[in-house]
Homo-oligomer: 359 residues x 2
C-alpha cells in the first residue's frame, strides 16, 4: 500500500459548516455568507480563506438541514403512469433537465395508471416535501381535491383541458388529430378507423373528437373505433381486430405511437402492407416511430417546450394569479406509413438517395 498524498477529504465523519469555520478561522455564519453570497458582505481575503477550507475539506452543505431551514427541498416530484413508455420517458427526461437547469432535482414516481397508486405516490412525494408536483397520470377528481387542500402546488402535464385551480400544460390534441385525419382523407381514404387508448378519465379524449371532426369536415361517415390499452400489445390486438373486420378500413388513426407499433406488427403478421393495404397515422412523435417499419407518420408533441413550460408554471407560480392551461401546437411529421414518403425499400431498390430518418 502506497501512501497516497491526494485528496485531503478522506473524511470519515461528515464535514459540517463548523469544520470549515474552524479551519478558516471564522464563524459559521461567515461560511454561510460565502457559500450562498450571503445576506452580508465578506471581505475578499476572508472569503478566499473560507473557499479554500471548503475545497480542502470537500464540504458540501447538508441538504436536509438546508431544506429544513429554508422550507424548500429544492426537489420536484413527477407522477407518470409508466416511465417505460417512451413518451413519458421522454417527457420525464425533458422535465428533469428543465428542473435541473433551475436547481431542482426530480423525484420520479410510476403510478402504473391506477388512481390508487397515483394517490399513494402523491402522498409519498408530499411527505418528502417536494416543492411541487407534475401530474402526468390518470387524473381523478378525488386526487385533485386532495391536492388542492395540500399546500403543495401541482401542474397537470400532458393534460389538454382546463381544470380550475390547476395550471396545466397540454397540446392541441383535437387539432392535431383532426389534421392527421384530414391528411389521410387527402390521400383519398374514405374509411378511416380509430384506434383509441382507454382513458381512465371520464371525459372523451380530444383525439377522438378530432378524428370525428376530421371525418365530418370531409363529409365522411365515422369508421370503426377500436379501444385498447395505451401500449404495444393493446395496439397489436386492436390491429388484429381491425384487420379481421368485414369492411376493412383503408386507413387508421392511432392515439399513440406505441399502439401504432403494435398495430404495425399485426398488419405485418397478416401479410398486409402499410400504407398500401392500410395507411397509418399516429400521435406523439416519439423516437420509436422513426424506426418502425415502415416509419410512422405521426403528430409530434413539442415535449421539450412543454416540459419547460411546466417547470416554469410550477416554480414561478405565486399561488394567487389565475391558473391557466397552456396548449402547445403540434406538428405533423410525414413518413411512409401514411403514403406520403415512398416506402424507403422502393427507393433503395432503385438506387438513389436513401430516405434517411427525418431530422
Amino acid at each position: 500500500m502506497v501512501t497516497v498524498p491526494h485528496s485531503p477529504a478522506s473524511a470519515r465523519p461528515t464535514i459540517t459548516r463548523k469544520d470549515v469555520a474552524r479551519l478558516a478561522g471564522v464563524s459559521t455564519a461567515v461560511v454561510s455568507y460565502v457559500v450562498n453570497g450571503g445576506p452580508k458582505r465578506v471581505s475578499p481575503v476572508t472569503a478566499a480563506k473560507v473557499r479554500e477550507a471548503i475545497s480542502a475539506l470537500g464540504y458540501r452543505p447538508n441538504a436536509a438541514a438546508r431544506a429544513l431551514k429554508l422550507g424548500s427541498s429544492e426537489m420536484l416530484g413527477m407522477v407518470v403512469p409508466d416511465t417505460t413508455n417512451p413518451f413519458f420517458a421522454t417527457l420525464a427526461r425533458a422535465v428533469e433537465e428543465a428542473a435541473a437547469a433551475r436547481g431542482y432535482a426530480l423525484l420520479l414516481a410510476n403510478s402504473g395508471g391506477s388512481a390508487a397508486n397515483e394517490r399513494r405516490q402523491v402522498r409519498n412525494l408530499a411527505s418528502r416535501r417536494v416543492d411541487g408536483v407534475f401530474l402526468s397520470s390518470v387524473l381523478f377528481e378525488p386526487d385533485l381535491t386532495e391536492l388542492e387542500h395540500s399546500e403543495i402546488p401541482a401542474v397537470l402535464l400532458n393534460h389538454s383541458s382546463e381544470v380550475p385551480g390547476f395550471n396545466s400544460v397540454g397540446v392541441e390534441l383535437l387539432e392535431g388529430s383532426r389534421r392527421a385525419v384530414e391528411h389521410l382523407v387527402g390521400h383519398g381514404h374514405r374509411n378511416i378507423a380509430l384506434v383509441m387508448g382507454m382513458n381512465s378519465g371520464n371525459d372523451l379524449d380530444a383525439r377522438e373528437v378530432g378524428w370525428q371532426q376530421g371525418l365530418a369536415e370531409a363529409g365522411l361517415p365515422e369508421g370503426p373505433i377500436l379501444r385498447c390499452d395505451f401500449d404495444r400489445q393493446g395496439g397489436y390486438r386492436a390491429g388484429q381486430r381491425l384487420l379481421a373486420s368485414a369492411d376493412r378500413p383503408t386507413a387508421v388513426f392511432v392515439s399513440s405511437d406505441l399502439q401504432a407499433v403494435g398495430l404495425l406488427r399485426a398488419v405485418s403478421e397478416a401479410g398486409l402492407r402499410v400504407p398500401e393495404d392500410l395507411a397509418v397515422f399516429s400521435f406523439d412523435g416519439s423516437a420509436e416511430a422513426e424506426y418502425s417499419w415502415p416509419p410512422l407518420s405521426t403528430v409530434v408533441q413539442p415535449v421539450q417546450a412543454m416540459a419547460e413550460a411546466a417547470v416554469e408554471a410550477l416554480i414561478d407560480f405565486d399561488g394567487v394569479s389565475p391558473t391557466r392551461n397552456r396548449i402547445f401546437p403540434v406538428d405533423l411529421v410525414l413518413r411512409a406509413s401514411c403514403g406520403c414518403v415512398p416506402v424507403p425499400a422502393a427507393a433503395a431498390a432503385a438506387p438513389g438517395l436513401p430516405a434517411g430518418p427525418a431530422s
Copy 2:
C-alpha cells in the same frame, strides 16, 4: 359552488409534531413514539388519541427534519446514461420499485453518457445526501476513486466485471453473447458480423469476447465488426455499412435491442429480408424487441432480479464485508429474426395459429 364538509386539513401553515401533541394533549416525544413505534411504549389509549390527532390534522412528519436527525434521507440516487433508452428505463423502473418496497425513493439522473456529466450528477446526488447511488453509466476511474472517498455507498448496476471496492451487479455478458452466436452457427451461418456499441470505458466489452469465443468454438473466422453508438441511429448506420460491404455476412450479433431495431430498418430499406438475407440476434430482451419486424431473437437480461439484487446490495451493505460482483444468468428468447420461429407473416398467409408475442 357547494360547501364541501370534507378534510379538516385545510391547514394553511405547516402542521408539525407540536400541533399534534397539543391536540392530543401529550408531549411531542410521545407523538414520535407513536409515529415510528418509538423506542418507548405508549399506552393504547394515548396512542389512539395521538393517531386521531394525526389524521385529524393530516400530519406528515417533515422529511427534512427527519433526514437531518437520522442522518438518512431515505432516498437513493441512480445515474444512467439515458432514461429514454428502453433498457435503462426498464432498469430504472425496476430499481424504483425495489427501492420503494423498502421505503426508499429514487432520484434519477441522466448523464448523457458523458463522464463529466456523470461526475456532476454524482456530486449533485451526494450533496442531496442520498443514502446510496446506483451507477449504470460510464464508469471512469476518476469517478470511482472520488466516490470511494465520499462516504456514500455505491453499487455498479449493469456492470459485469469485478471492480475492487464496489459491489456490482451484472449479467453473463460473455456467456449470453457466446450462446447467441452459437445459436446463429446452429442455423448454418458461417459469416457472422458484430455490431457493437461503443463503450466509453477502456476495457473490451464482454459481448465482443463472447462473440469471438462463439466463433472460435465453431472454428469460424471472425466476421466484420461494426462499431457505433448505443442507439437506434447507431444501429441503423452500422446496418447500412454492413449491407454495403463486399462480402456481406449472413448473420449479425448486435450488442443491444435498440441498435438492432435501427439495423432492421436499414435492412428493410435495402429491400432485404430478415432472417433470409440476414439473421439477427441481439441483446437485452427489451419490450421493443418483441414488436419490431420481424420480432427480434434476443438475449434477455433478468432486469427485475438485477434491480432487486442491486437495491439489496446497496441498502444492506455494512461497509466492511468484501464487495462482490453478482452476475445473473441470461436467457435466449427465440423469435423470428434468427430464423427459428417462422416469420409470422408466413404463418398468417396459411391460416393457422397466429404466433403471438412470446410471453
